[in-house]
Symmetry: none
Subunit: 500 residues, 2 copies
C-alpha cells in the first residue's frame, strides 16, 4: 500500500464525515432552534447536503482508492487501517447501489413528513400522517431492493443501523425473551407489594428539573465544554465529534422523571460520543459500533446506574432539596416508584421490564409493513391489538399509540430493534463490569462514576468500529449475546422490590 | 432563450444560495450555541462548505449557462429573469477572475491577522498589527486589479458590498455632509439644554430587558414564526430565507439601551430579510440590494422609529413597568437622554449625528491606503488628526483609535462607507414615507407600525435586486441620493431638543 493513498483515503473519509456532521447540525437546529416557517427551505438545504454526501461516498475516485487499499497489505496488518478500509468499503458498496436522486427524494420526503407527524400527533389523527408513511415505505423498499437482501427485505434496512443483524436471529432472541418476560411482568402485577407511582406526579418546577438534570449529567461524566442540553419535542443525542455533542430533553412539571431519566439516558449516548478516540475523528475507528451498542450505553446509565438504589442513596437528598414537594417521601418509596413496572402506552416512558415488549411490537409491525403484508391504514388497529397481546393495555388514541414515535417520520424503518438489542447488550456488559469491579455499588454510593466510565471508555468507546457488535460482546463479556443476563438483571432487581 | 436553460440556471443559483445558507447556519450556531471545544472541527466544516460554494459559483457549466442566457431575449424582456441573469453574471465574472490560490491566501492571511489584531488592540500597539495590514492591502490590491476598475482601485473593493458605488460619487456627498455636519454638532455642544445620559446607567435586570426587547421587535413587525433572537458577543442578523431570520443581541444590566436599540436595529435588518419575496428565494430577485440599503432598514427602525418621541409616547409606560429603576424619570428626560449627541472615540457607540463622521474618516483613510498614498505606519497619526478635525476629540490610545474595528483584520476594505450610505438612504426613504403617509407619527403614537412596514415592503423589500442602490433611491424617492434629507432630519429632531 502506498501511504499517500491511505492518507488521501483518510482525508476523503473525513470530508464525508464533515458533510454528515453539517447534516447533523442542520437537523439538530431544526428540532431545537429553527423558526416554524423555516421547514421548507431547510428541507432543500438537507437535500443539497445529502446529495453532496452521496456524491463523495460514491465517487469513482473514492471507489478506486478503496479498491487499491482493500487489496493491499494495510487491510491485513494495522488494525486501524484495516478497520477504516473494511467499514468504508462496506458503506461504499451500499451507497453506490442507491442513486443520488433517490437519496435526495428521501431527504426531502423526510423533512416534510416530520412536520406532518408533528401535526398528526397533535391532532391524534393517523390519517394525516398515513400518506407520508406510504411514500416513505415505498422509497425504503426501493432502497432495500437496490442494496440487495437474502432472507428478508427488512434485513437490508436494519443493516444500516446494526450491521450484520438479521431478522431471523433477532426473532429467535425476541421469542425467548418474550416467553419469559410476559409472565414475569404479569407476576409483578400480581405481587403483594406495589409502588405508589403517584409520588412522581407531584409538581416540580421546570427550572429546578433543568438544573438537577444538568447536575446529574455532569456528575456521571458528561462534559459540558464539549456538549450542551436543549429542549426538543422528542429527546435525542446528536454528536458530530467527541468535542461537540448535543443532548435534548423535555420537561413535564407533573412528571419530573421524564426529564431526569431522559437526560441520564441521552447523557449515556453523549458520553459514548465524547469517549470516542479524537485521534480517529471522522473515520470508522472514531465512530460508534452500531445503534444497539450506542443504546447499551444510554440504557446502562439511565437504568443500571440512574435507577439503582446506590445512585439514589447518594443523590436523593439533593433531589429533595431541589424538589420541596418530595420532602416527605422516604428513599425506599421513591426508589420503588421510579422502578415501578407498569404496562403503559408510551415507549419512551416505559419501565425497564416492559420496554422491550414495545420493541417486540414495532419489530413485528415494521417487518410486515416493509413486506407489504400490513396496509398503512391498518397500522392503528394492528398496533392496538399488539399492545393488548403483549402488555394487556389498549392505547386510548393514536397520539399515545402508533403516532408516539418520531422514527417513521424519519423513514428509519429497522431502527427500533436496536433499542431492544441495546437492553440486552447493556445487561451483558454491566454483568461483566461488575465482575471486573466488585465494588461498583460502593462507588455509586459515593457519587463516583469514574470507575464505570473508565471501564466503558477502555473496553468499548476507544475501539471505535474495530469490532462488529456481536464480536465486541464476545470480546468484552467472553460470551455470545443472550437474553439471559437481562432476565437475571430484572429478576435480581424486581423480585426483592415486589416481594416475589 | 430556452426556458429549460433558464430553469436550470435558477436551480443552480438556488443551490449556491442554499450552500451559503448552510454556511450561515453554521456561523450562527458557532456564535450562539456551539460548545467551546467544537471550534476546530467547525473550522473544517466551514472550509468544506466554502469550497463547495466556490466550486459551484465558478464552474464552467454555470459559466456556460450564463453566457447562453446573457445573449438571449430573457435578459431584455422579463425583469425577473433580467435581474437574476445580470447579477449572477456579475458575481460569476468577479469570482472567476480571482484564482483559488489567492482566495486561500487571503483566508490564511485573515486568520493570522485576526489574532494579531486582538493582541495589538489589547496592548494598544498598532505596530504589531501593521505588517498584517500591509499584507492584506497588498492582497486586496491584487484582487482589485484582477477584478478590474475604472477611476479608482478602491471602487473594485467597494463593489463587493455596494454594487455600482464609486468613490468619486460618495466623496461628493460626504464633502457636502461634512461641511454642514461638523458645525451642526459643534452648535449642539454649545447649546443651552443638555441631556442627562446618566439616567441610562440605572440597573435593569437582563430578563426584563430580554422580554421588553422581544416585545418591541414583535410590535414593529418582526415575525417570530419566521425568526428568533439569541445572545452573542457581537450582535448580528443572519437571514437564510424570508422564513428563517435570526437576530442576536447582548445585555448590559448597567446600560439597557445597548440591548433595546440593538434589538430594534437587528430587527430592522431582519424585517428586510423577512420582507423579501419568497417566490424568488435563493435568487437575486429575492436578495437584499446592498449592505447600504440593508443598513438603511436597520437604522430607520432603530433611530427614526425607535428613538422618536411618538414611539416612546406609546411605549414609555411599558418600559417603566419593566424597569422599576426608571419610574421617576419623566418621558422628556428619557427621550433626551436616548438622543444625546456627544463626540466620542468609538464608532459602534456613536449617536445618530456623530456616527457618519466616523465613517467619513475611515473612507478617506482607506482610499489612501489602497491607493498607496498613506503608509501603513502613518495610520495612527492620520487617524488621530482626522478625529480632531471631524469630531474635535483625540483618541487616548490606538485601542480606542485606529485599532477599534475588526474590519481591517478581515480585509474588508470598502465596507465602512455602506454604514454612512445606510444613514443617508434611511433619511431619504423616511422623508418619502412621511410624504406618502402624513400621519406616520400618529400611527407610531398608537403603537401601529404596520403602515410604515407595508410601505417598506412594497417600495423596497419586494424588489429584491431589481434595482441597484442608486436606482432604487431614485425610484422610491424621486431624487438622486443627497445628504439633504439626513441633515433636515437631524435639524428637525435635535434643534428643538437642544433648544437651538
Amino acid at each position: 500500500m502506498s501511504s499517500s493513498t491511505y492518507s488521501q483515503f483518510v482525508n476523503h473519509v473525513r470530508d464525508i464525515h464533515r458533510a454528515q456532521a453539517i447534516e447533523s447540525v442542520l437537523e439538530w437546529d431544526q428540532e431545537t432552534c429553527m423558526p416554524r416557517r423555516g421547514a421548507a427551505e431547510r428541507a432543500e438545504q438537507l437535500a443539497l447536503i445529502a446529495g453532496i454526501v452521496h456524491d463523495r461516498r460514491t465517487s469513482d475516485e473514492f471507489g478506486g482508492m478503496i479498491q487499491r487499499l482493500a487489496g493491499s497489505d494495510a487491510a491485513g496488518q494495522d488494525h486501524v487501517a484495516a478497520t477504516n478500509i473494511r467499514e468504508m468499503k462496506r458503506q461504499y458498496e451500499r451507497a453506490v447501489r442507491i442513486p443520488r436522486q433517490l437519496v435526495q427524494e428521501l431527504a426531502r420526503t423526510v423533512a416534510l413528513a416530520k412536520g406532518a407527524w408533528v401535526e398528526a400527533k397533535r391532532d391524534s389523527d393517523f390519517a394525516k400522517f398515513a400518506p407520508h408513511v406510504e411514500r416513505l415505505l415505498d422509497l425504503k423498499r426501493q432502497v432495500a431492493d437496490l442494496v440487495g437482501w437474502g432472507e428478508e427485505r427488512y434485513d437490508a434496512l436494519m443493516d444500516e443501523y446494526e450491521p450484520g443483524a438479521t431478522s431471523a436471529a433477532i426473532q429467535r432472541v425476541f421469542d425467548q425473551l418474550r416467553a419469559e418476560l410476559v409472565p414475569f411482568i404479569q407476576s409483578l402485577g400480581r405481587a403483594p407489594r406495589q409502588p405508589d407511582r403517584s409520588l412522581l406526579a407531584r409538581h416540580c418546577p421546570q427550572a429546578a428539573q433543568a438544573e438537577l438534570s444538568r447536575r446529574f449529567a455532569a456528575a456521571i461524566g458528561f462534559n459540558f465544554d464539549a456538549g450542551r442540553i436543549d429542549v426538543s419535542a422528542h429527546p435525542f443525542c446528536s454528536g458530530t465529534s467527541p468535542h461537540d455533542v448535543r443532548l435534548t430533553t423535555r420537561y413535564r412539571e407533573d412528571y419530573f422523571p421524564s426529564a431526569l431519566f431522559g437526560t441520564l439516558h441521552e447523557a449515556g449516548h453523549g458520553m459514548y460520543e465524547q469517549g470516542l478516540d479524537p485521534a480517529h475523528v471522522g473515520t470508522p475507528m472514531g465512530w460508534a459500533v452500531s445503534l444497539g451498542i450506542h443504546e447499551s450505553q444510554s440504557l446502562m446509565w439511565e437504568n443500571m446506574v440512574g435507577r439503582s438504589r446506590p445512585f439514589w442513596e447518594h443523590f436523593y437528598p439533593d433531589l429533595q432539596t431541589a424538589f420541596p414537594a418530595m420532602k416527605d417521601v422516604p428513599l425506599d418509596a421513591f426508589y420503588f416508584a421510579v422502578n415501578a413496572v407498569t404496562p403503559s402506552f408510551i415507549r419512551v416512558e416505559a419501565d425497564e421490564a416492559t420496554y422491550n415488549l414495545h420493541i417486540v411490537l414495532r419489530f413485528g409491525l415494521e417487518r410486515q409493513m416493509i413486506a407489504g403484508t400490513l396496509a398503512v391504514r391498518d397500522i392503528p388497529d394492528a398496533w392496538n391489538a399488539g399492545m393488548r397481546d403483549l402488555l394487556g393495555v389498549t392505547p386510548t388514541s393514536d397520539a399515545v399509540g402508533c403516532l408516539q414515535d418520531i422514527h417513521w417520520s424519519q423513514g428509519t424503518f429497522g431502527y427500533f430493534p436496536t433499542y431492544a438489542l441495546g437492553k440486552l447488550y447493556a445487561a451483558q456488559f454491566f454483568a461483566a463490569a461488575r465482575r471486573a469491579m466488585p465494588d461498583l455499588d460502593g462507588t455509586f454510593r459515593r457519587g463516583d462514576f469514574g470507575p464505570l466510565l473508565d471501564w466503558l471508555r477502555s473496553n468499548i468507546h476507544r475501539h471505535g468500529q474495530r469490532y462488529r457488535a456481536h464480536e465486541l460482546v464476545k470480546v468484552v463479556t467472553g460470551a455470545e449475546l443472550s437474553h439471559r443476563p437481562f432476565m437475571d438483571y430484572l429478576a435480581g432487581k424486581f423480585r426483592p422490590l415486589y416481594g416475589i
